[in-house]
Symmetry: D2
Subunit: 270 residues, 4 copies
């Protein structure tokens, strides 16, 4: 006999429209990455669940502490980043929190938050080709040479405001203490050595975190996500602070704007 159940069976192909491996939702029951969520709440840290969500498994204790340190290192860089200025300017026009955050995150373009993934990719591709740890100094030298020859910057080195990024020095020490360093960090330090000789440039926080995250097993394409997770609380603090200011922040006075009449704005090929 044709029952509702058998009909549903027939139409099953239409039933599963979306699939996920992240969280199962049933009535009165939530399971994330296989764990009942109520068993996770109160037993693991926020960094643990970030690791679980992005990597599919819970981290060993030292790796969890390492991720804590990395996220703390990304927390805020004052009023200098365009993303922070964009979030605050947007806030000053009277938008709700989520709109201000969204605007701030949109300003993480490749010139602003792009270095970490580029550095992770570079480190991971180089180490993938590396046959033994002894090779690393040679690979580092070759890599620097090629970049300099082609006038290209190595991502993760040098900083707009700092000569020596205090976060980078510190995070490497923490990683060593927590035994979270490996070939990628070794490579990052070798590159720094070579680069410092010729260009007086140091590893920055993006480069240091790129190396450590690679050693923790994170794929390069998760770098920007981790940076954004780390920066979000700072962005929110700035948005809250901006709300205490006078609305409609006037960033530019008329005399700070130069109008150039006779230039057309025909867009040149990029």
């Amino acid at each position: 006999m044709i029952t509702e159940k058998s009909l549903k069976e027939i139409f099953k192909i239409n039933t599963y429209r979306w699939k996920t491996t992240i969280t199962l939702i049933e009535k009165n029951h939530i399971r994330t990455r296989g764990y009942p969520l109520e068993e996770l709440i109160g037993n693991i840290s926020f960094s643990d669940i970030i690791f679980l969500l992005l990597m599919g498994e819970l981290p060993p204790k030292d790796q969890s502490k390492m991720l804590d340190a990395i996220l703390v290192s990304f927390c805020d860089h004052g009023l200098t980043p365009p993303s922070t200025q964009v979030a605050r300017l947007t806030t000053s026009t009277g938008t709700p929190l989520n709109a201000s955050i969204a605007a701030g995150l949109l300003a993480f373009g490749e010139n602003h938050a792009g270095a970490i993934e580029k550095a992770m990719k570079l480190f991971q591709e180089t180490i993938n080709l590396c046959k033994s740890p002894e090779e690393i100094p040679i690979l580092a030298e070759k890599l620097v040479e090629e970049h300099l020859k082609n006038g290209k910057k190595i991502p993760g080195y040098g900083h707009r405001y700092h000569h020596r990024d205090p976060r980078a020095t510190r995070i490497i020490k923490v990683a060593e203490k927590l035994k979270c360093t490996g070939l990628h960090t070794q490579l990052a330090k070798e590159i720094e050595k070579t680069l410092h000789k010729t260009k007086k440039i140091h590893l920055n926080i993006d480069g240091a975190n790129a190396a450590i995250l690679s050693d923790l097993g994170f794929h390069w394409n998760t770098g920007t996500g981790i940076f954004m997770i780390g920066r979000l609380p700072g962005l929110i603090a700035h948005i809250n602070e901006e709300k205490l200011e006078k609305p409609f922040r006037k960033t530019l006075k008329l005399e700070e704007i130069q109008y150039m009449e006779n230039q057309k704005n025909r867009i040149k090929s990029s």
Copy 2:
């Protein structure tokens, strides 16, 4: 017998998941608001279809020209608006066009682009209560009096940069020529008269357009949308222009930032 058709009949309730009155899509056929789209293309102006989409019908010729004038009046206000600065800052970080536009639009908070809808609401609610045109001067006076008494600004009057907004004067003239004025515009002008006596403040472009749009029959809650349509081409021109600049615009130097150590950021109730 159970056929595919009869089964579909049974499952029909699940079939219609979304409904729309805007555009019908069938294979090789598109109909917008009842019109085959290929009959509209080449026969109507962009302002006509904006009117059709937002109001459900094509406008008479003079109303279409009026909408053209309104959209032109909104086109750009140079580098002064936060939305434009946000769009350009975002662009300078290397984002794609749609992200820069989205960031810019997010900065149309109620302090920035909010006046037009507030003015439309005020005009429409006042006129809805008005029994005859003769009442308008009295209603205007009462309205100004109440606002001043409560220390509230009337939306659509006064401008951050202009004493007399050149766009407002002009758009009212255009509206009169095109016979697109009615009770709302009359009210807007009466308010200006009263307000100018006491506060030396004039009607601005938001107020003028709010009045004319109301006379064209637009509901007050379409005001911001029309403003955004008018402003989008200007935003895109700014984004294109920013792409010709050096990436990562540094808006603030370190010495332009004041760090105040001993103040906590506990958020006060708003």
Copy 3:
């Protein structure tokens, strides 16, 4: 003599254009909320710095663990939330990570993520008026009565998918164990008792966290921010998962759309 310094003195008023209490940036030195950032990295957890950024001070250990539990409880709710669907649909069109996240966050409108702040406000305003803990059951009853009389829902109670939200039960237990409950949690539980009698409705995770966050001292207007911080890693996991799917997710087939020809879309006053 006029030196550069004296000139700068004169122009100082123009110099400090933005001010902040969050992070001091100097060359080679970063201080967040008064702490050198390098001293925080490796010594505090991610939840600690979230607390520091939003509250201005580091939390006691149990409060830090409590914030961990709250953030874990918000981590993901599978494919059911509009925000998650929006983030995945956006991803399927080929956008960069930050654009997909931004789109997802924009879908935290007041119908979706609004309950937590509304519940915090309600709890905090009620407790502010409360003269002694004995009053709480009476206040709870009055509050439920008023809401029911006016046909209004109490924010933080009931759930679209769960009869009894498993996260709520668990987080309250954790809060009790960590001694992080106080008058607000007491109120939340009294409301649940009364509401369950008449409507068979339970406290949900928004309500439970609203109460505990209030007892931790968070102002009601930080609720949505904390929710977003907690949810961001889950959103990113979904975006990563969507990238493994076929591009351009087709959510609707033509037969799932109903086109209604003769209805105009005139927007009614809301």
Copy 4:
């Protein structure tokens, strides 16, 4: 003597912080691309000012009408595009208009709105290499051959829902009537001829508009912007329509989601 003016002279280098060629703002005076804005209002159409803003000059009459037709052709494609669904889902959570629009625009990723710029680039690069119009059929054949050989789609041809896109046929006719076709349109039609023989695929609206816009002189990198300008009114109409629906649109039922427990979400290199 040192006057304020002379001091300002000295500090001038800091004064011009931003520059623009788009709009001059002075007190009571606004000039866009050199024209006093009040002279443009009421005298030109919305398409005229779009042309002026993006190209730097006002268009001849037929080109203005052509741009009208192009913008009309982009106006809406019902509920089928991810961008429209994203805008409506976002709206259903209770967000303000600008947030819903921003979310919708963010879903114009390269798989969704990318074809027009890719087609413009392809057409413009091919025509730049073309020495005489006689070569066009040969260039078209070569181009199709190369794409097919490499298993690559030619952007601007074929459509998810239509076999023959009714807008494409129509817009080409309008362009011919308005004498707005040139080498790029010729090339687009030759490609269609060749492609139809082997693959039964036709020119779509993106391809047709890409060709005509190229003949009008638009640089390929303005294509997406023009598409977005054309689509914005449709997006707003959908947002307005969604506001009349029940809040919090439930797109998925629990039984439409398949949870796959044992699969890790490690992101593979893309």
